[in-house]
């Protein structure tokens, strides 16, 4: 067993971990949840002995009666990878692109057991089989770029568990994956804990994932463990107010009036979009027809690569179609020709990464006023900027700031303010709340619901997070391989899907059991 006791870490004069204590028991899953900056990853790095060099740690991480915090680096190298393994959030970049997967798994075995390459590769084969990458289909000679995100995460797991460690630390292991892949990876981790008797420290921001996986849960806030206990009782009777806030926020239910949307705003008829690729072609949109009503909020769900974003881009007039047509208020949206500015001004978009979609050298007023180039900048544009800021809950004085001076949630509010400023009819929200912490996410969703009410906006809401889709949309379209396989009222699709694909999609969503709340 690995026991963390009174672990504190000071980084650049700031106490980032404050007396953290955790027991990591063999055969048990410990969930560590909390928002970004709460100290979850810092705890993991401290256990691994991989803290930044400037950090000072005190307390205990005890393994076999030895305190890892006091061990010299050479000893730690012998423990890392052998006794404690770790996997990370981004499977796309976690593997060396220039090394075969076989060699990457074998490296652990050669390093710690001194095996020769041949013997190590033999064992690597067995470990890759174990994580669901069986021999004929996944030879050792594959390179990471030849695998999907989920498969790469399996390789990362294989090398982390190659030596059957006492503890596996998984830091947001499925956050970058879509729901069905997430479900399979979580199943694999659960099996490994059971079969190999290792302890698993599962770090995640997603309470639903923890609910389905963990035996015990620790909730972190500002570097401290706010509350810790068996999963079921913690969810049923949270004692700490912060835990209660997290639980409430994880089931967002912004107040939205139910209504009909008889007037269509956007109409898509038989849209086809082909891409030319190295091996032939890819039909990203395969004859899609759909509508978005005036004032309606439509959700678009499906696995990665199913064509969600292509459809959104086509509606925005950014993707030329090979067949079919798209209209907004009866006006044809045609990316092939120069689209009239007036038409462009009627739709706006908010992306997932608010930092990447703002010029870091511009001040907020200039950023927010940018869409005015479509309509002509009104003389009172500064007043309009101030109004837009107020509308998303920011201060008029924020107009003179730069984007790096805002938090992630505030940046997303700015992105929404920018979209609103020219009063569009439609806003496309492409994973717009996916990068936000649960409480911030709930606030932004409330904001979106209020703005929709006040301005009669239509939303096209793309998300892999179905709890969000449930809270903010009236109707849902399930996409698969460029087609809409099922469509209907949100409630109905998410509670009683009829199509096989939608059913497996819904089944894969991690959920907090109903009787726990």
């Amino acid at each position: 067993m690995i026991r963390v006791a009174d672990l504190s870490v000071v980084l650049d004069g700031r106490r980032v971990l404050d007396r953290v204590s955790l027991d990591l028991v063999p055969g048990q899953v410990t969930g560590l949840v909390g928002e970004s900056g709460s100290g979850k990853s810092m705890t993991a790095l401290a256990v691994m002995g991989l803290l930044p060099q400037r950090a000072r740690a005190s307390g205990q991480v005890a393994l076999d009666g030895r305190n890892l915090l006091a061990l010299p680096e050479r000893e730690l190298c012998r423990i890392r990878g052998a006794r404690i393994g770790m996997i990370f959030q981004e499977p796309m970049t976690a593997l060396n692109p220039l090394m075969t997967i076989g060699d990457q798994v074998a490296e652990v075995l050669r390093l710690h057991q001194g095996l020769n390459r041949r013997a190590a590769l033999g064992q690597a084969r067995e470990r890759l089989d174990r994580v669901g990458l069986p021999a004929p289909r996944f030879p050792l000679s594959l390179y990471p770029h030849e695998l999907s995100g989920g498969q790469r995460q399996r390789v990362a797991i294989a090398l982390a568990i190659a030596l059957r460690p006492d503890l596996l630390i998984a830091d947001e292991p499925t956050t970058a994956l879509d729901v069905t892949t997430q479900a399979r990876i979580l199943d694999l981790l659960k099996d490994l804990v059971r079969d190999e008797g290792m302890a698993l420290l599962l770090i995640t921001h997603d309470l639903a994932v923890v609910a389905g996986m963990a035996d015990r849960v620790a909730v972190m806030q500002n570097g401290r463990i706010a509350e810790e206990g068996p999963t079921g009782s913690l969810f049923r009777g949270p004692r700490h107010p912060y835990t209660r806030q997290l639980l409430d926020a994880s089931r967002p239910a912004p107040a939205r009036p139910a209504s009909d949307f008889p007037t269509p705003l956007v109409q898509v008829e038989g849209a086809v979009r082909d891409y030319r690729t190295a091996d032939g072609g890819l039909r990203a949109l395969d004859g899609i027809s759909m509508t978005i009503g005036r004032g309606e909020s439509v959700g678009l769900v499906g696995e990665s690569g199913c064509g969600k974003s292509t459809l959104a881009r086509a509606i925005l007039g950014l993707e030329p179609l090979q067949a079919g047509r798209i209209t907004l208020d009866g006006q044809v949206v045609d990316a092939g020709r120069l689209m009239p500015r007036g038409l462009r001004a009627r739709m706006q978009v908010v992306f997932q990464d608010p930092f990447g979609s703002f010029d870091p050298r511009w001040r907020v007023d200039r950023l927010l006023a940018e869409p005015f180039h479509l309509t002509g900048r009104p003389p009172d544009w500064r007043k309009r900027v101030a109004e837009a800021l107020a509308e998303v809950g920011l201060q008029p004085t924020d107009a003179r700031k730069f984007i790096h001076q805002f938090s992630g949630g505030q940046r997303q509010r700015l992105a929404i303010a920018r979209a609103l400023i020219i009063r569009p009819a439609l806003i496309v929200l492409d994973e717009a709340v996916s990068a936000l912490d649960v409480r911030v996410r709930a606030q932004v969703l409330d904001l979106l619901a209020r703005l929709q009410r006040d301005h009669g906006l239509s939303y096209l809401f793309i998300s892999h997070d179905l709890s969000v889709v449930r809270g903010i949309t009236d109707r849902v379209l399930v996409m698969q391989a460029g087609r809409v396989v099922e469509e209907g009222p949100t409630q109905q699709i998410l509670d009683a899907p009829r199509n096989d694909h939608s059913r497996s999609l819904v089944a894969a969503i991690p959920a907090i059991p109903i009787d726990w709340s």
């Binding site: 991989l50 060396n96 030849e146 090398l159």
Partner: protein
């Protein structure tokens, strides 16, 4: 892989053709008539016309290009206007100096840059890094002819370990190699400084990558992770710079060749230009262009060797 190679080779052939047209036109458009240069200012118009006919200068431009290019394809680079000897032989003679010099300088540069870059990256933001990069700054800033003169003063004049200049040919390889050492060092040091800086920043960037963190989580020490995982990934930008440096060293060594009295390619081209020896200029420049392209091709091959994503593309 084969497709990758074929595509590269096709691009190389097309570039060479375009380069030959460009070189020919530029040289033709530059003012200065080789015939009148050869005969001096007091020449009779009839003699001048006769010489122009003899040199083929009275033919229309496209015909002359075709004749020149056709001959080159058969290995005939023409005859120098000034020396009346085959250009191919002249270039070959000079390459015997320039090619070994460039290769030697490049090997030296790599031999210096590799440990310095690794050292600096391993001590990022610490004293050792600052020291190494300070030295590299100095190396980039120093003019290489000044460095060359310094080397001559110290190692040839004072210590008398190596010759101060001149080159007597490869018939006796040891003195030949000895006379190339100082020029190679003078050429290599600034290149090593550039290379070390590029390698250091590439290494530091790769050290921040997720897969290096994965390597550390496997139990590799920081320096093992640097050598086994970061280095190979950092080589890709370094290879690009290396290719450009070799091209520069092959023809750009003219100042160093002058300081050390070396009969290299750079000096030959310079002399040919002052003497309006057009045929020599054209052919030598074309040979250089071909060499640069061959190096680029080799760099492309090296990319593919390093990066599996290119191999299977």
């Amino acid at each position: 892989m084969l497709r990758y190679l074929l595509r590269r080779m096709f691009v190389m052939g097309a570039s060479l053709l375009a380069a030959s047209v460009l070189i020919f036109s530029v040289v033709e458009l530059v003012p200065g008539d080789p015939a009148s240069f050869m005969l001096g200012t007091g020449a009779q118009p009839e003699t001048l016309a006769a010489l122009r006919t003899q040199l083929g200068l009275d033919q229309p431009l496209p015909l002359r290009y075709a004749a020149w290019a056709g001959a080159i394809l058969q290995g005939d680079f023409g005859t120098s206007f000034t020396y009346k000897t085959p250009v191919a032989g002249m270039i070959l003679d000079r390459l015997q100096v320039s090619l070994p010099l460039a290769v030697l300088a490049l090997l030296l540069a790599v031999a210096i840059a590799l440990p310095v870059g690794l050292f600096a990256a391993g001590r990022h933001r610490r004293a050792g890094d600052a020291l190494a990069m300070g030295a590299a700054h100095l190396g980039v800033a120093l003019p290489n002819f000044w460095l060359a003169m310094l080397l001559v003063l110290v190692f040839a004049v004072n210590l008398q370990w190596l010759p101060a200049g001149g080159f007597l040919g490869w018939s006796d390889p040891v003195p030949a190699l000895r006379s190339l050492i100082l020029p190679a060092v003078a050429l290599a040091l600034p290149q090593a400084a550039i290379l070390a800086r590029v390698l250091r920043s590439a290494l530091i960037e790769t050290m921040g990558q997720d897969y290096v963190r994965t390597a550390r989580a496997k139990g590799l020490s920081a320096s093992q992770a640097l050598r086994r995982h970061a280095l190979r990934n950092a080589l890709i930008p370094v290879l690009t710079i290396l290719g450009m440096q070799f091209s520069f060293l092959l023809a750009g060594a003219i100042i160093i060749e002058n300081v050390f009295y070396l009969p290299g390619l750079g000096r030959m081209i310079f002399q040919a230009i002052t003497q309006r020896d057009l045929i020599v200029v054209q052919s030598a420049v074309l040979v250089l262009v071909a060499a640069v392209m061959a190096v680029t091709f080799l760099v492309d091959l090296a990319y593919a060797a390093v990066d599996p994503r290119l191999r299977r593309a």
